[in-house]
């Protein structure tokens, strides 16, 4: 981030209380309520976050490194359950059926069946392109070849990579470029039709051209699936999201329409961040 050389007013502004998100008029996919997260070493990474997630829209989470944005995202499909001793508090309610994703009765594996995820670094499996996209279907016990083939093609088209790979579906996924690999990973997450797609800084390892392609893709995706994206890149959030959440030190400082957050932030911390005073 740019350093303007000015002394940040962060020290005094951060003491101001966060602004609670206003009531949403648009249909919701999920609601995060009173959510806190503790790592196994006792560190509280997220403090009492309330946040709506709009149905079939792009919600971006921004904030400086270590603000808890990735931690929040990874909570939504229970990635933290892979490591012992982590603790969730509060609720993440899916509007459709009222299921609490982080409730004690929710099976993390089932949560991940409903909520797909794409990671920072492209992580294709060391298998063919086809098998990568089919992986989520096989996990769901789908064996019908025709169904799988159709779903793979649909997913690759939705991920805007079909034209590039349709002739080498059975070639190794590791032979693709970084940008293609990341779109392949998006296709992999899309293939089983998740209700929410989580993107954890999906372009941080990509060059600008590949980034542009992935950004276009994300905007198209929002017509059919709810997208939550964590990004370090404010311009990216401004370009592609409908709502933006600004997090700082584990708190949700401000949430609102993207244009509002970037043009007239209400909280001084948000303003400091988007004007590049810290990051």
């Amino acid at each position: 981030m740019m350093d303007t050389g000015m002394t940040p007013k962060a020290s005094d502004t951060s003491t101001l209380p966060p602004i609670k998100p206003a009531a949403e008029s648009e249909p919701l996919c999920a609601r995060i309520e009173g959510f806190s997260f503790f790592y196994s070493n006792g560190m509280q990474a997220i403090k009492n976050v309330d946040m709506p997630i709009l149905d079939r829209k792009v919600t971006a989470i921004i904030g400086p490194s270590g603000c808890g944005k990735s931690t929040l995202l990874r909570s939504l499909n229970r990635m933290h359950d892979l490591y012992p001793g982590n603790r969730y508090e509060g609720r993440v309610i899916l509007e459709q059926d009222g299921e609490n994703l982080i409730g004690p009765e929710a099976d993390p594996v089932v949560v991940r069946l409903r909520v797909g995820m794409v990671f920072q670094k492209p992580n294709p499996f060391p298998k063919s392109i086809f098998e990568n996209v089919a992986a989520g279907l096989r996990v769901r016990g789908i064996k019908n070849r025709a169904v799988i083939e159709e779903a793979v093609e649909t997913a690759l088209k939705r991920a805007a990579i079909w034209d590039e790979v349709k002739d080498k579906l059975h070639g190794s996924a590791n032979d693709l470029s970084g940008g293609q690999q990341q779109r392949l990973c998006i296709a992999r997450a899309l293939a089983p039709n998740p209700e929410i797609l989580l993107l954890d800084e999906p372009t941080s390892a990509l060059d600008p051209i590949a980034t542009a392609k992935v950004e276009d893709l994300i905007q198209d995706l929002a017509e059919t699936v709810t997208v939550v994206i964590v990004t370090h890149n404010m311009q990216q959030a401004a370009r592609i999201s409908h709502r933006t959440a600004f997090m700082y030190l584990g708190q949700l400082i401000e949430f609102g329409e993207t244009s509002q957050i970037f043009t007239s932030p209400k909280h001084p911390s948000t303003e400091s961040y988007i004007t590049g005073r810290y990051g």
Partner: protein
């Protein structure tokens, strides 16, 4: 756009798929756990069997007679059960092995870790590994039929069956293991330490002696202790080349049965299950197990300590 043939999460729950899958995962988890726990069962079974089958022996023979007696003649008309002859032969051959393995092993490990070019190491490491795979009965053949006749030309009074040659062969046998474990330890010494020493103007050998060896000391010690444990427990070389005659001697030119050789000798004969002779196998086996256990535990902790440092 969405494909109705692909079940959603809630449909998967309703169809029982999630439940079925959870059951399979649970069953596999139990299977994996039982497999891991098998190792504990094996250890327990070893201790249990050794104790159970040697118990009647220790009920009859006082422990002090067993540990400090100097005659081992369990199948004689007037049986004596002093384990010292077997123990001395075992420790003597293992000691001889260490006399070979320590200087050779240390030099080779230093050479491999500090001096050898990567290409040389790439060739020698697999070669050492291959040598570790040579069956021990082949080493026994070497000791009895090749090395002993050869050394008899130079060592006066060297008997056809002796402790010296199996000791030397044991040393060569454990060399690959000792070299590879101590070389790993030396290579684990951070390069920062080496660079610091070179910056002071030290030559390579000074870095090796003053920095690498002290830095890797517990790892190297572990290598030799674990090597010693292997030498103590080795069987075939001794059964073939050190003889099967219990003999309390300090002269390595003579033959003497080790603990392992005695077990082999008794197993080859027809020992009635449950007889006192059968029980002696387990009594000396228990002793052998305890000795190697001691070395293994010390070696394990030294290695772990070493890994924690770096």
């Amino acid at each position: 756009m969405t494909n109705s043939a692909i079940p959603t999460g809630s449909e998967l729950i309703k169809s029982g798929f999630v439940k079925r899958r959870r059951m399979i995962a649970g069953i596999m988890r139990v299977f994996l756990f039982l497999s891991a726990a098998l190792s504990i069962f094996v250890t327990t079974a070893i201790v249990y069997i050794l104790l159970r089958d040697s118990w009647p022996f220790f009920m009859q023979i006082p422990l002090t007679d067993f540990l400090f007696g100097t005659m081992w003649t369990p199948v004689f008309a007037d049986p004596q059960f002093g384990v010292l002859p077997l123990l001395l032969a075992t420790l003597q051959t293992a000691g001889l092995a260490m006399l070979i393995a320590i200087p050779f092993g240390l030099t080779m490990a230093i050479y491999l870790s500090e001096y050898a070019k990567p290409a040389v190491r790439e060739v020698i490491k697999p070669a050492l590994e291959m040598l570790e795979a040579v069956p021990t009965v082949v080493y026994g053949y070497f000791a009895l039929l090749v090395m002993t006749p050869f050394l008899q030309q130079f060592v006066p009074g060297l008997k056809g069956i002796n402790l010296l040659v199996p000791g030397i062969i044991l040393g060569i046998m454990i060399l690959p293991y000792v070299v590879s474990v101590s070389e790993d330890a030396m290579r684990a010494v951070p390069n920062g330490l080496r660079e610091g020493a070179y910056a002071l103007g030290m030559a390579k050998w000074q870095v090796a002696v003053k920095v690498v060896i002290p830095g890797a000391f517990s790892g190297i010690t572990a290598a030799f202790i674990l090597g010693m444990s292997r030498a103590v427990g080795e069987t075939m070389v001794l059964a073939i080349a050190a003889g099967q005659n219990p003999n309390l001697t300090w002269d390595p030119r003579e033959g003497a049965a080790t603990i392992t050789a005695y077990i082999v000798q008794m197993s080859l004969g027809d020992v009635a299950h449950g007889s006192l002779a059968y029980q002696t196998i387990f009594a000396v086996g228990l002793l052998l197990f305890l000795i190697t256990l001691f070395f293994n535990v010390v070696g394990f902790y030294l290695r772990r300590k070493f890994r924690e440092v770096y």
